[in-house]
């Protein structure tokens, strides 16, 4: 059985962020090795400012109250926790170039890599998830 979980985060909304980081922290807490590859809008999720202002899907804003009521941790909290648990973040170099972003725009401790970096990691990971 593989002990690696590979996640692709390709979308930048708040719901996407929860899907990515909940699975990632749960996997890490279950002693899995976890790597997340952030690409395109997914880069939002680890952007220093962006991750504090993630949007809900249009028409779903009323869920904000539910998030509060359920005492769900904030995305920045989940990001910190994921890193504490050893989840590795890889930002997609190509997307960063397109969007004019540098490593300093993101939370500390990330790595920058290309598609092959992720594929190399993911080749023996199970499961590989895309959000």
């Amino acid at each position: 059985m593989s002990n690696k979980v590979a996640i692709i985060a390709a979308n930048g909304g708040m719901f996407d962020a929860y899907k990515v980081f909940n699975i990632a922290t749960a996997a890490a807490a279950s002693e899995k090795e976890v790597e997340i590859f952030f690409t395109f809008e997914g880069l939002n999720l680890i952007h220093k400012q962006g991750m504090h202002a993630l949007e809900m899907p249009a028409g779903k804003e009323h869920f904000a109250e539910g998030f509060e009521k359920a005492n769900v941790p904030s995305i920045p909290q989940l990001v910190e926790m994921a890193q504490e648990l050893g989840v590795k973040f890889i930002a997609c170099q190509m997307t960063m170039d397109v969007m004019g972003l540098t490593k300093e725009d993101f939370v500390d401790g990330i790595e920058v890599g290309g598609a092959v970096t992720f594929l190399e990691y993911a080749k023996d990971a199970a499961p590989t998830l895309t959000f």
Partner: protein
């Protein structure tokens, strides 16, 4: 209340926090100890059972009181790595037809979630200080989960002058008779 070595308060926290907190808390326990996780996340019951199974701990069970779920997990499901050496053993099937005392030396929480009716609970770690509760004239059938702790317990009893002691094999993992719960 079920006895545990440590308590973790994860009340009011949503998934995946109860799991993350449990993972951190269990590092403070030594193998064989029991952690109580208090949570209000309804999903935590299935999650913690699955988590324990994945990571290699023993999920004992959950008690619900009002809105609070009390989960019990015993750290590391592996019994001590020792060869069973106590000679006098009886098969599990024979235990109901025997006279004498069934002594269950698992942790109190393991006992609470299911034991043989009439069995007396003295966790292995407390046995030496509670010997006076036992009758040297009576047969004692020592049982645990897989037969290893009970092997050690049977040796300890013999060393202390008990002569009618038997280790019940294989143990509660294979018990399919009636189960009594204290929850």
């Amino acid at each position: 209340m079920i006895q545990a070595n440590h308590q973790l308060d994860a009340k009011g926290l949503a998934c995946p926090m109860p799991i993350v907190k449990t993972k951190k808390a269990i590092t403070d326990l030594v193998e064989g100890q029991v952690l109580e996780v208090q949570a209000t996340d309804k999903g935590s019951k299935a999650d913690l059972a699955a988590w324990a199974n994945t990571v290699g701990h023993q999920y004992l069970g959950t008690v619900e009181e009002g809105d609070v779920l009390y989960h019990y997990i015993r750290k590391g499901s592996n019994e001590p790595e020792v060869e069973k050496s106590f000679e006098h053993t009886v098969p599990l099937e024979a235990i109901e037809s025997r006279k004498g005392l069934i002594l269950d030396v698992r942790e109190a929480a393991e006992y609470a979630f299911g034991h043989i009716e009439g069995a007396k609970s003295i966790p292995m770690g407390e046995l030496e200080s509670r010997l006076e509760e036992l009758d040297k004239e009576k047969e004692i059938y020592v049982i645990c989960r897989t037969g290893k702790r009970s092997d050690l317990a049977a040796q300890l009893l013999t060393k202390n002058g008990f002569s009618k002691v038997y280790n019940v094999l294989p143990g509660m993992t294979e018990w399919d008779g009636k189960i009594t719960k204290d929850i």
